[in-house]
């Protein structure tokens, strides 16, 4: 790769090679044009940048540290494993990085209400937090299945003043929550803004969320160089559902060809359609929710029901930039199962005293799998969120692994 990847991608219409774009019904064209124009104009202004910098430091608690997972690494007798601690970001996940920025943009645009979907509830909690900070209204759409599974996050959103809209159709998870949020936004695009939860959706969202998550990669690169003898890690790994945390950390390293980037998808219960959410591994070209990417569909072209133990990864599409990075071979994508994820969840908790989100545990599982084969090398994982939200679900269904 000849450098400056980020400046060259996407093109001005939001295309990453053959993926991306804006497949919008006409009712949404003007609202999205408004967001796009505002993003280009406002996000680079000194006012916006300075305020975001202040928020990152004093409200979010950034920079988040990198932790050398010595016990885990020693137990594997292979590569050294490092964790970028996004679980220590305020609200417990990387999502707040783009939510604070999206809400700040909304305020600059004079919007009064933030609308979004959420899967595991991490994006919902982060957006509700941002809304409270800026004094904006907040409406979060969430599938009924996820509402039940992620109860603590539902409580948090309500305490933060957000309205949680239960989504009762289809599979009642993240995919339907996106449909519902879009529909709500369509009703009132003048006073509201859709603050999407990942690097998905029509242009400019994949770029906007990526740019707002860039802080993770920038910090991680500098911190890694400072704490180790080498400038760069050999491997960087992150879980990929929509793909926001992965795009965040990848950006610090994407122009450095010697760094191998790993995207880790959820293999769920198996390889059959409906049992996993491994979109890059098993998907085909198509459109969903206003963008072109790889999509898991049935033979009639209907986006398929998907499964992952991690609600935040439970989505039949994937960010268009990931589809592109897969196509050009810059990022290696692989998948780990629910069981491997649980093993990693327990292992990190016991060995390092860090309970990871089930989403992030996918990346840990991949590192555990590959570490023995890479002695002397380093693996930097984006530990994108903490597992507090998952503890009841795991303990009730799988026990304490004693």
């Amino acid at each position: 790769m000849s450098g400056h990847y980020l400046k060259k991608h996407p093109d001005k219409n939001g295309w990453y090679g053959e993926y991306g774009g804006a497949f919008l019904p006409p009712q949404l064209e003007q609202p999205f044009a408004e967001i796009s124009e505002a993003y280009d104009r406002i996000s680079l202004s000194a006012d916006f940048q300075n305020e975001l910098k202040y928020i990152r430091k004093h409200f979010q608690g950034r920079p988040t540290p990198i932790h050398y997972a010595r016990n885990l690494s020693d137990s594997l007798a292979g590569a050294r494993i490092y964790l970028k601690r996004e679980d220590l970001n305020h609200t417990g996940a990387h999502k707040l990085n783009h939510c604070m920025a999206e809400a700040l943009l909304a305020r600059h645009m004079g919007k009064q209400r933030l609308i979004a979907e959420t899967g595991a509830g991490q994006h919902g909690v982060a957006l509700a937090t941002a809304a409270a900070y800026f004094g904006l209204e907040c409406e979060i759409h969430m599938g009924e299945v996820d509402i039940e599974k992620e109860h603590p996050n539902v409580v948090r959103m309500k305490l933060l003043g957000a309205k949680v809209v239960p989504v009762s159709f289809g599979g009642r998870t993240l995919k339907e929550a996106v449909d519902s949020a879009f529909q709500s936004y369509l009703k009132d695009p003048v006073t509201s803004i859709y603050a999407i939860g990942s690097v998905v959706g029509p242009h400019p969202f994949p770029k906007m969320v990526r740019d707002f998550q860039r802080i993770v990669g920038e910090e991680a690169r500098a911190q890694f160089a400072e704490m180790t003898a080498s400038d760069l890690p050999d491997h960087v790994a992150a879980c990929v559902g929509g793909g926001s945390n992965a795009m965040g950390i990848f950006q610090g390293f994407i122009d450095e060809e010697e760094v191998t980037l790993h995207g880790v998808e959820p293999l769920g219960r198996g390889t059959k359609l409906g049992e996993h959410s491994a979109t890059i591994t098993y998907g085909s070209d198509g459109e969903i929710h206003g963008f072109r990417s790889l999509v898991l569909t049935n033979e009639d072209g209907q986006p398929a029901p998907v499964h992952s133990i991690a609600s935040g990864l439970d989505y039949p599409g994937v960010g268009p930039e990931h589809a592109y990075l897969h196509k050009i071979g810059r990022v290696l994508y692989s998948a780990v199962s629910d069981q491997q994820t649980l093993d990693a969840f327990y292992k990190l908790s016991r060995l390092e005293g860090i309970i990871p989100a089930l989403e992030s545990a996918h990346a840990v599982a991949h590192a555990i799998r590959m570490a023995p084969e890479h002695p002397g090398e380093s693996i930097l994982i984006n530990l994108s969120g903490r597992g507090d939200k998952d503890i009841d679900y795991v303990a009730d269904n799988y026990g304490y692994n004693v």
């Binding site: 019904p25 064209e29 159709f169 449909d179 198509g286 459109e287 969903i288 206003g290 569909t297 209907q302």
Partner: protein, 268 residues
């Protein structure tokens, strides 16, 4: 002249406005769809808009979305919808049929295969909700080379530049979404609609239909005075939903509403 153009020309000669009902194919089950289409024609439909079920219809409200869900429970895909049109066409050679749906099922079937099979089945026009002309990817060219008319939506927020661009590629008629929001929303502002229709007619000689928010005969008549076609969807689909467990009563219920609308429009 296409079947759609022919139908609008005939209506214009009579000084009448087209009435276009929308139902979702396969709702509440695939067996009733063709029968419903015939009864809609008997009740005064000039064209029929048939929804292709899609699991993630981002521009539709809950009413149409649930219609898709009911149809998908019976696994009604694009192939089935084309078979339904073919069965309808065998009996009714005259009434134009427009399919309305989302891009992905068409892409999975293949653009060329879709264009050929749709035309062969007797489909006259296609409205793909989530494909603006910029993101055509060959579909627009494929359709342009076929006999199918490409119907496009325009919204209250569509700019003049946008209207011009859409009208350049549109065929059959232009479909103006009269209220902000999703299908089934309310609050129709007639003056605003009339102003926008004038703006659209600057750019095209195609008939302009108005839909979204037309719930009853009075509204249909009022819109019929300013538009070339009145599209009614959610009001019909709500009736289908209410009678989903008694499907043999649906045809009469839809006919009742459509007959009232037709009568009010003709008297207006």
């Amino acid at each position: 002249m296409s079947r759609i153009a022919g139908r609008f020309a005939a209506l214009k000669a009579e000084g009448r406005t087209a009435l276009i009902p929308f139902i979702t194919a396969g709702d509440p089950n695939p067996e009733v769809t063709v029968e419903l289409m015939h009864s809609l024609v008997q009740a005064g439909a000039d064209l029929i808009e048939l929804g292709v079920p899609f699991s993630d219809p981002m521009a539709d409200g809950p009413v149409i979305q649930r219609a898709s869900e009911r149809a998908l429970k019976h696994h009604v895909g694009l192939h089935h919808v084309l078979e339904m049109v073919q069965t309808f066409r065998a009996v009714d050679p005259d009434t134009p049929v427009v399919l309305m749906g989302y891009l992905n099922p068409i892409e999975v079937m293949g653009y060329q295969a879709f264009a050929e099979q749709a035309a062969a089945a007797g489909v006259d026009g296609i409205l793909v909700v989530d494909i603006p002309p910029e993101e055509g990817h060959g579909l627009l060219q494929t359709l342009q080379a076929s006999t199918l008319d490409q119907i496009y939506l325009l919204a209250p927020t569509s700019t003049s530049e946008r209207i011009k661009r859409i009208c350049e590629v549109a065929g059959g008629f232009v479909y103006y979404v009269s209220v902000k929001g999703v299908t089934g929303a309310s609050h129709l502002d007639l003056t605003a609609v009339e102003n926008k229709l004038s703006q659209i007619r600057v750019h095209t000689d195609l008939p302009v239909g108005v839909g979204f928010g037309i719930k009853d005969a009075a509204t249909a008549a009022a819109v019929g005075r300013i538009a070339d076609a009145v599209v009614v969807g959610s009001a019909l689909v709500s009736r289908v939903e209410a009678l989903a467990e008694r499907p043999h009563e649906i045809a009469a219920a839809l006919s009742e509403l459509l007959t009232d609308m037709r009568k009010a429009m003709d008297e207006a």
